[in-house]
Symmetry: C2
Subunit: 454 residues, 2 copies
Amino acid sequence: MLLALLLLAAPVPPDVASRLVGGALTSGVAYSRLEELTDTIGPRLSGSAGAEAAVRWALKKFQQDGLAARLEPVKVPHWVRGEESGEVLPAPGIAGHPLALTALGNSVGGTVTAEVIEARSLSELGQSARGKIVFFNHSMTTPAGYGQFVELRSHGPSAAARAGAVGMLVRSLATASLRSPHTGMTGYDPEVQKIPAAAVSTEDAELLHRLLQRGAVRARLSLGCRMLPDADSANVVAEVRGREKPDEVVLLGAHLDSWDLAQGANDDGAGVAMVMEAGRLIASLPQRPRRTVRIVLFMNEENGLAGGKAYAAAHQAELARHVAALEADSGAGRPLSIRLHAGEGGRALLRPWLSALDGLEIPLEDGDASGADLGPMSTSQVPLVLVHPDGTHYFDIHHSAADTFDKIDPENLAKNSAAIAVVAWALAEMPEPLPRPPQPEHEPQDAPRPAAHR
Amino acid sequence: MLLALLLLAAPVPPDVASRLVGGALTSGVAYSRLEELTDTIGPRLSGSAGAEAAVRWALKKFQQDGLAARLEPVKVPHWVRGEESGEVLPAPGIAGHPLALTALGNSVGGTVTAEVIEARSLSELGQSARGKIVFFNHSMTTPAGYGQFVELRSHGPSAAARAGAVGMLVRSLATASLRSPHTGMTGYDPEVQKIPAAAVSTEDAELLHRLLQRGAVRARLSLGCRMLPDADSANVVAEVRGREKPDEVVLLGAHLDSWDLAQGANDDGAGVAMVMEAGRLIASLPQRPRRTVRIVLFMNEENGLAGGKAYAAAHQAELARHVAALEADSGAGRPLSIRLHAGEGGRALLRPWLSALDGLEIPLEDGDASGADLGPMSTSQVPLVLVHPDGTHYFDIHHSAADTFDKIDPENLAKNSAAIAVVAWALAEMPEPLPRPPQPEHEPQDAPRPAAHR
């Protein structure tokens, strides 16, 4: 009786807790894997040689870890950056200035030389934009500003083109800068002209703003980027097959692609390393959990979401048996909490299964637990769970050349891996799955996701 | 009697104190001047069009401020950067990586492709460096590390060449980085081969270090820089002529040149703006001070010190009548103290004259008060004074593309200007000059100054 009570109070066998948490905190595998991914493969933009090398690498690592792994084909956009530069042209009494800029992902290339006008919203453009380079400025200073201003990046080029502009610059969506521009996906409205679009560093945004107080500013913008034909790529899918209910799936996701400017250590090499480590640790337990733990390394999160869409399409019939999904794509800061988006009572059901994380001070809470690659399955009411890391410095390096391995703290990476492993095992082992959330999230699949870290 | 005591206790007339401090804190002139210098002229490397524009600009501003201003000719090195790039070459199992690098000032250009070896000191190079690119790594994390490791930058190329190396990379001397390399002057021993030399960002230094743990690393280094024939330039010298002892001089210095990667807002546009503002405020007083206040905007501090040397040479006969010298070249952080290097009792003599700064909490203390441009006059035992700003973030941006106007805090710039104005006026007005320091500083004029902010 006492034993039964104890088991009820602590449903996770002590050896499982210690293997998952202790293993993550002491193995160093996630950190060394991430180093290998970032240093031996490097940038992994969809369609690039790096992306394909990463697919092969991940497949092999999963197999080495004892997971059943496979590739699921995805057709991805293949955008290449080429050479890029820009400058403020000299004018009487004003020196020219080079601009620290970088093309937005999916931008068309081209060279434009025109007067610059500054705007602070998509809606304020009028006749004055005709023939100009529209410069979207904003006041992002904290991570919350990303959701507020990302529409300037994603919809700015077409808003500017609709008003007759010939080019677009946007202030980088960044919380720190040392003259470091941040790229990110943009899109074009098929109805309007596609114009070259780039992000300038926050310093250069300040410069443009100041120079415009002095008078007219002309700038040159030269982007060598172009879109090549779609390329063949893949999501990498690996499983620890459930011992009792193999058709019920706990999905752990991260994205294997990265921007091209850096190694993509934080976005999203870290997430890849975490979910791989969770899979490795669960696979190494003496007994497989009740349900299947499936790890999906999505391709093309950054500039198209083709992997997320392909997964949802290929697995449509199976999504009702996805008992939970987690995406690790929020960096590798200290894990602050586990966020759950499920039906009523879900939190109370899950909580006792997470006691192994008490020592790490990672409480369970309700909250936004979405992930970009999980968006396409949002109509299927899959319960979502998120290990939520401290994001204070996430946008210091996000989508910039500074997203490098040295920024990763090994201890925090390990703690995130531990939390994901514990949550995934719990969701796969609980006798009954969590109640599904009451309504589908009302989010169009193709719209930019303002609050996400894309 | 009471009045006499009051005057003794507070030798600075209240209206002088309020005009200098209040003027600096409310005029906004230093800040708008700095904006004008950085935005309308921009980078000012010796020999460049920007440097010459800055000379003309400063002369005109001094004249507008009512100072007697002139140019004193200086022959300066004329080094140009050109295009530059570098990469780690791909190897079996290892992707190639672009390197964020920038040529060291005065480096020769050229393209070298060779294996990289890592070193941590000038002395450890042996036969293994032959035919290699020597990569000097170090562990600078705080401003104090600059003095400790700057020899790797200044003497590294010749140390490497002496060991047979064909190229040199040095980890940037930086306290923060977002993939932002820091340039800085290097020099060549005339006895050995001049080899191309560049700084890599701290992130790229970490990458090289990690890759070298995996095996051999080959890199390509392509520098388009070259040294052109020396150019004609000038120090800009302006004076508020002393009313009683015009031949006794209080020198306020800063340097007009900057590196070419950025606007040189912090190094040393800020110093230029401060000493100009001190001069403007002193010139606007109803009565000129007893001695001459001379403002010298030196040319070529960054890559040659030609201006400092030319000034010391041209004014050799007069240096014994330089009663004090101050250089503002430590950034524009909050002023923490006034440092004095003078003869015994100097501090007690000066202190009552600085009471106007009590409200700003800028105490007088002994300490290193040197400045790079003042080095060549060090044999003349000129008392040195320094308004010492908080340098915590100085090396975050120093010599990098991020040394831009937006980094300047207007309030701290104004406080520094106020402090310099008060100190300069005091030194020019005190009945007797400060005692000179007992011994000349034993510092060879051409050696790199480890503790300085060059």
